[in-house]
């Protein structure tokens, strides 16, 4: 055995089969109900994120169908104003808080460790805790909606409408508390991703050799760190205004209604970039693989990502041009909003240049990326129009804006997400998705989307405001709304095709193998689906496209123990091996802590004392979670976070 101080280490002296058997036993996550709640395997937690976020996407999609059905005819009596307000608020809140951010974070939780070439995510128990908090937040909101306590003041709930005076009952409180849940979960995952990318990259993967997907996830996480506290502060202040009589937003007592808009949109605009930037990472991975060429202009792409990250924080006031702010201030935000079109334009150019020089192979993922480019660029250009103050005075809060943000969010995030699904499904399940069904899925989505949302540009120009539960005849809006309804039906069919493809391929999809697309990045260097420890040996990275450099053998490092869970920490800049970090074992306590925190949040809606007394159970649960268990080893003990 190897000469090191204790335990058996992997290397030439152990056969591959022997190494694998020992690692399987050491890293076993267990079976059964207890293991289900106690697992800390980042892949299992990520799969739960995918499934839960997709269920919320599907539910919110049904609400969208209901909205279009109600608006298909003028003066339609199908849905009353009270129910319609709940439906459009739930559609917006679910898509933004319960689908978009969690699915992107789930993607990061699954693929960041794999692409970094490490064995687990940093702080695996915190990762499990973050999923349960997210799940409880989503369940709370949808149970409230089922009990007719769904929020009805819009997904950004402007005060004073969402304030105590004009929103009776507990509806907006449940919305504000849902934000506390999802942001807590989002912040936790952001910390994990930053720590994983900075400290756990495979030896040799210096910052300039990191795949663009990791860069995008890093920028997303930093944006989350600095954006989400703003909405947590704002929603706490709103819930205090509503429940304990503070006056943050009460103009009569020195507060200000616009304070809510400033705080919310300081988070709101970075939020849409938090959703959009990971999509850039997905597109870069897909384009590079399917054109069989490294991305054109890697340094320019990285700088563009970072530029979007910073600029995203400087233009929130373009949501408030019509509130009568001084014109000089607003024109600054016009310039800032225009400037952000430059890095996006550069990125689009670089992808097309990659296709230009590469040999594109139009499998479904690349089809969806082409769809992304066609739709997102149009959305970006309508964004440039909305950035101008005078233009926004006419277009703000109309269906033109609804068309714009669906083009940039559905086009800019959902299309790349579906491309990512077709691209990484083989790695997650070991089977390929059906290509023919994929093409049908793409074309129905592409045509349905444009049929549904392009007419909304004209509806906006024809003066149709947002969030109306009905409209009277004779305003010229009838035909276009009917067209939009047809489009949304087609999108519904496309989503069903996607579900069929996802479910059917689980059993009937062709066997994928380790690297079906001949892709360059490290997640394709291990088997599909990857074992709980991801890599039998930690890879050594010598170029930014490892699997294209080494086609026969993968250079790896030996020396990690096979009978103790550990991985290697590397230095931040050029990833030189630094520390052998032990990895946490499965534990039920993150799940119990999440329940305690959830009960505290929900109880605090009904009595402010819950914040004081409700904090005790979570404190106890988290202490037990962190308290080291078992007898301490000789030199290093197992960690707890």
């Amino acid at each position: 055995m190897s000469a090191s101080s204790e335990g058996i280490h992997d290397g030439e002296w152990l056969s591959e089969g022997e190494t694998r058997a020992r690692l399987d036993r050491t890293w076993d996550q267990g079976r059964g109900l207890y293991a289900f709640f106690a697992t800390v395997d980042h892949k299992r937690v990520a799969k739960r994120y995918f499934v839960t976020a997709f269920v919320f996407f599907f539910l919110a999609g049904i609400l969208a169908l209901l909205m279009r059905l109600q608006l298909a005819r003028p003066d339609n009596g199908l849905i009353g104003p009270d129910m319609y307000n709940q439906i459009f608020t739930m559609h917006g809140s679910t898509m933004m808080f319960l689908f978009a951010v969690p699915i992107m974070e789930g993607l990061a939780v699954y693929f960041v460790p794999l692409m970094c070439g490490t064995r687990a995510i940093a702080f695996p128990r915190l990762n499990s805790f973050s999923y349960w908090v997210y799940l409880f937040g989503g369940l709370m909101l949808w149970v409230a909606f089922a009990l007719n306590i769904g929020p009805d003041a819009g997904w950004f709930a402007y005060t004073p409408l969402s304030g105590p005076g004009y929103s009776p009952g507990k509806r907006v409180d449940f919305w504000a508390q849902m934000i506390t849940f999802t942001e807590l979960s989002g912040l936790a995952v952001a910390i994990e991703i930053i720590a994983t990318i900075f400290k756990q990259r495979a030896p040799g993967m210096a910052l300039n050799r990191m795949p663009l997907f990791l860069w995008s996830m890093l920028v997303m996480s930093f944006m989350i760190l600095f954006a989400m506290p703003s909405v947590m502060l704002a929603s706490t202040m709103l819930i205090m205004d509503r429940l304990v009589g503070t006056h943050f937003f009460n103009a009569a007592e020195g507060g200000d209604a616009l304070l809510w808009q400033h705080l919310f949109w300081f988070f709101g605009h970075p939020e849409v970039y938090i959703i959009f930037i990971p999509a850039l990472g997905i597109v870069s991975s897909v384009v590079s693989t399917f054109t069989r060429r490294p991305i054109f202009g890697y340094p320019v792409m990285v700088l563009a990502l970072i530029a979007i990250g910073f600029l995203g924080f400087g233009l929130w006031v373009h949501h408030m041009f019509a509130t009568g702010l001084p014109r000089l201030g607003s024109s600054f935000y016009t310039a800032a909003s225009m400037v952000i079109a430059i890095p996006s334009g550069i990125q689009i150019y670089c992808w097309i240049a990659t296709m230009w020089q590469g040999k594109p192979r139009f499998a479904t993922p690349l089809l969806f990326v082409v769809g992304f480019i066609v739709i997102f660029v149009l959305g970006g250009l309508t964004g440039v129009m909305l950035a101008s103050v005078p233009m926004d005075l006419q277009l703000h809060d109309t269906y033109f804006v609804i068309a714009h943000f669906h083009y940039v969010l559905v086009g800019g995030a959902v299309f790349p997400l579906v491309a990512g699904a077709y691209y990484w499904y083989p790695k997650v399940t070991g089977r390929l998705m059906n290509e023919r069904l994929g093409r049908w899925n793409f074309w129905t989505f592409f045509i349905g989307f444009n049929l549904a949302f392009f007419p909304m540009h004209y509806l906006g120009l024809a003066g149709m405001p947002r969030r109306v539960y009905t409209y009277s005849d004779g305003l010229g809006w009838n035909g276009l709304n009917l067209l939009a309804f047809a489009g949304v039906l087609l999108i519904g069919i496309s989503v069903l095709l996607l579900i069929i493809n996802l479910v059917r391929s689980r059993k009937h999809g062709a066997l994928a193998g380790a690297n079906p697309w001949n892709a360059p990045s490290l997640e394709w260097a291990t088997s599909s689906p990857p074992p709980t420890y991801n890599f039998r040996h930690i890879p050594l990275v010598t170029s930014d496209n490892p699997l294209w450099e080494h086609r026969e053998q993968l250079p790896v490092m030996r020396g990690l123990s096979v009978d103790k869970r550990e991985l290697v920490l590397t230095t931040v800049l050029d990833a030189k091996p630094d520390i052998r970090e032990p990895v946490a074992k499965p534990s039920i306590w993150p799940f119990i802590s999440a329940i305690a925190v959830g009960v505290m949040f929900i109880a605090s809606i009904f009595t402010p004392w819950a914040v004081v007394f409700g904090a005790i159970p979570p404190a106890i649960a988290i202490t037990i979670w962190f308290w080291p268990k078992g007898d301490p080893g000789p030199a290093d003990e197992d960690p707890e976070p």
Binding site: L147, P164, G165, P168, G169, K170, T246, E253, F606, T607
Partner: protein
Amino acid sequence: MRRATGYGRRATVRSRSLLPVAVATVVALAACHRENRHFTAPPGTELSPPQQSMSGLVAGGESVEFRKQQGKEYEGNAYHMGEGKRLFQWFNCSGCHANGGGGSGPALMDDRWIYGGEIDEIYLTIVQGRPNGMPAFGGKIPSQQIWQLAAYVRSMGGHGPKSARPGRDDHMQRDSEQGRRDQPINPAAPPSSTD
């Protein structure tokens, strides 16, 4: 014999799954009552004619049980209490009752009710008016609005579910109502319901 046990097992399974459903419906009933928005007044609330009568015995007109049953519908409903608070300002009840602290009219925050503190008794007080200055609003305010006012007045006194009570007002808190701070209904209740 086997069929019986089979039946027994299936029954227990069904009863076990019924329990959570029962709990959920109870929660649902409690919650959704608080949150329902009734826009049209419930049937049979025709405008009660103004009459001056001191006793509950009313020839014809609404019977006591019917009124009590109606009161239930308004009492715990957050929407009606919110509307009641708005009407309290609109119809200038604060002119005499000064947001519940009491001025020329009696205080509505405390537990002393000269003419009865139940919701239907407050409804009758508003409809019929009372000596020493309480005008009869019977013919002047539609009965749905009077019920909403009665529900709000009861919530000012701390009755009715706390979760349904309307929150802080959006108007200036008049310092003159400082007096009412020292009669908190119950410490946990937000002081906001008094302005």
